[in-house]
């Protein structure tokens, strides 16, 4: 119906914005995660990774991580790390916190090169690791500056 659609889409140099590198792979992400956990087992749960499943621009994507923890001296979250599968590098951010945080919560804005899986891992004071993951679709914009 919209005659110019295809032409405009083809004309938009969107592909030039794609990273030239192939991007991180699942193996690279797993290695980065091992760097954070020291190879310890990770259990799914206690972590809630909040990010929109459909992202209209990958340059600035709001993201929050909340970990279910009493945040006491005896039982708290030591660190939260976020990883991705298909950006040029698998690591996004690692935050160190402790009982003085009061709550285990972190919000930031991240970049996503393309649709992919994100992983949030929390390191607890008892040495255990917990995680949540999210699938994110990054849509392609038509009218961008070239």
């Amino acid at each position: 119906m919209i005659v110019p659609t295809r032409r405009l889409l083809l004309a938009a140099p969107a592909l030039l914005l794609m990273p030239r590198q192939a991007g991180a792979t699942q193996a690279a992400m797993e290695e980065a995660v091992r760097g954070f956990t020291g190879g310890a087992a990770i259990t799914r749960g206690r972590v809630a990774l909040d990010i929109s499943p459909l992202v209209e621009n990958g340059n600035t994507v709001p993201l929050s991580v909340i970990v279910d923890s009493p945040m006491t001296e005896a039982d708290h979250v030591r660190a939260i790390a976020i990883f991705n599968e298909r950006n040029p590098q698998p690591h996004v951010i690692t935050a160190q916190l402790g009982p003085r945080a009061g709550r285990a919560i972190l919000s930031t804005h991240i970049r996503l090169a393309t649709s992919q899986t994100l992983l949030a891992v929390a390191a607890l004071s008892d040495g255990s690791f917990w995680s949540d993951s999210a699938q994110v679709v990054v849509t392609l914009a038509a009218c961008i500056e070239g």
């Binding site: 119906m1 919209i2 110019p4 659609t5 032409r7 405009l8 889409l9 004309a11 938009a12 969107a14 929109s52 459909l54 992202v55 209209e56 621009n57 340059n59 600035t60 994507v61 709001p62 804005h109 849509t139 392609l140 914009a141 038509a142 009218c143 961008i144 500056e145 070239g146």
Partner: protein
């Protein structure tokens, strides 16, 4: 009263009753980013503009006197006998009264000052350009808006009137109301002006863009503000 209202409605362009800001077509997350001044990166430019204003401008202007100013631009510039947009006015003010080289179009200092001044009008309706001397430029803007251009041979009308609300790749085609400029565009990862956005459209249809500050852009800005009259300013808006 009813008759007056009916007349008013008749006087509006056909699309006027369902005009919508690009804000309404954005993802909820991007809307939240714009609404929250602590998450809206455009506020960094506003803060810089505030510092510059307090340092360089308060000998003549007060913060309070800036409220509503952005809603009235482009306006008539007596000195040059031509319409001038807000960034052009600020730039001319620096040159004429501070006697220093004016900040370049799209430079950080000018974007910051313009964002700060426009932010003072956030929430105010865009006023219809009423100075009769603006009429020729307004008509020029209307003509440019309807003129097919570039290798793709497209006019603004074809996308932003005829197909507004439909999708082009992953994006909703907006109605092109300039309610939030200067604005923070996620694509740009920074703040830019309406003229930068217009340049983007022109290169998008493969036409030669005008130079920054060109009379054609000011004419287009005038027409777009006339078309958006009554809509509320959002500066600094966030757009994908």
């Amino acid at each position: 009263m009813k008759r007056l209202l009916a007349l008013l409605l008749l006087a509006l362009p056909a699309s006027a009753q369902d005009r919508r800001s690009g804000f309404e077509d954005m993802a909820r997350e991007t809307q939240a980013m714009q609404r929250d001044d602590m998450q809206n990166p455009g506020m960094l430019w506003v803060a810089e503009g505030e510092d510059r204003f307090n340092r360089d401008c308060t000998a003549c202007h007060s913060e309070a006197s800036m409220r509503g100013v952005a809603a009235r631009y482009p306006a008539w510039d007596e000195a040059t006998g031509a319409p001038i947009d807000l960034a052009g006015r600020i730039s001319a003010c620096v040159e004429r009264h501070q006697r220093v080289a004016p900040p370049a179009r799209e430079s950080q200092p000018l974007l910051a000052l313009t964002a700060y001044v426009a932010h003072q009008s956030r929430g105010l309706p865009i006023s219809r350009p009423s100075d009769p001397r603006l009429a020729p430029a307004l008509e020029q803007g209307r003509a440019l808006y309807g003129e097919r251009r570039g290798q793709l041979d497209l006019s603004c009308v074809q996308c932003h009137d005829d197909n507004a609300g439909r999708r082009l790749a992953g994006s909703t085609i907006p109605q092109a109301h300039p309610t939030g400029y200067p604005l923070y565009r996620l694509e740009w990862q920074g703040v830019g002006s309406l003229q930068r956005r217009l340049r983007g459209c022109m290169t998008g249809v493969r036409s030669e863009p005008f130079a920054y500050g060109a009379a054609e852009y000011v004419a287009l800005e005038l027409f777009l503000n006339d078309r958006a009259a009554g809509m509320l300013l959002e500066t600094p808006a966030v757009r994908p």
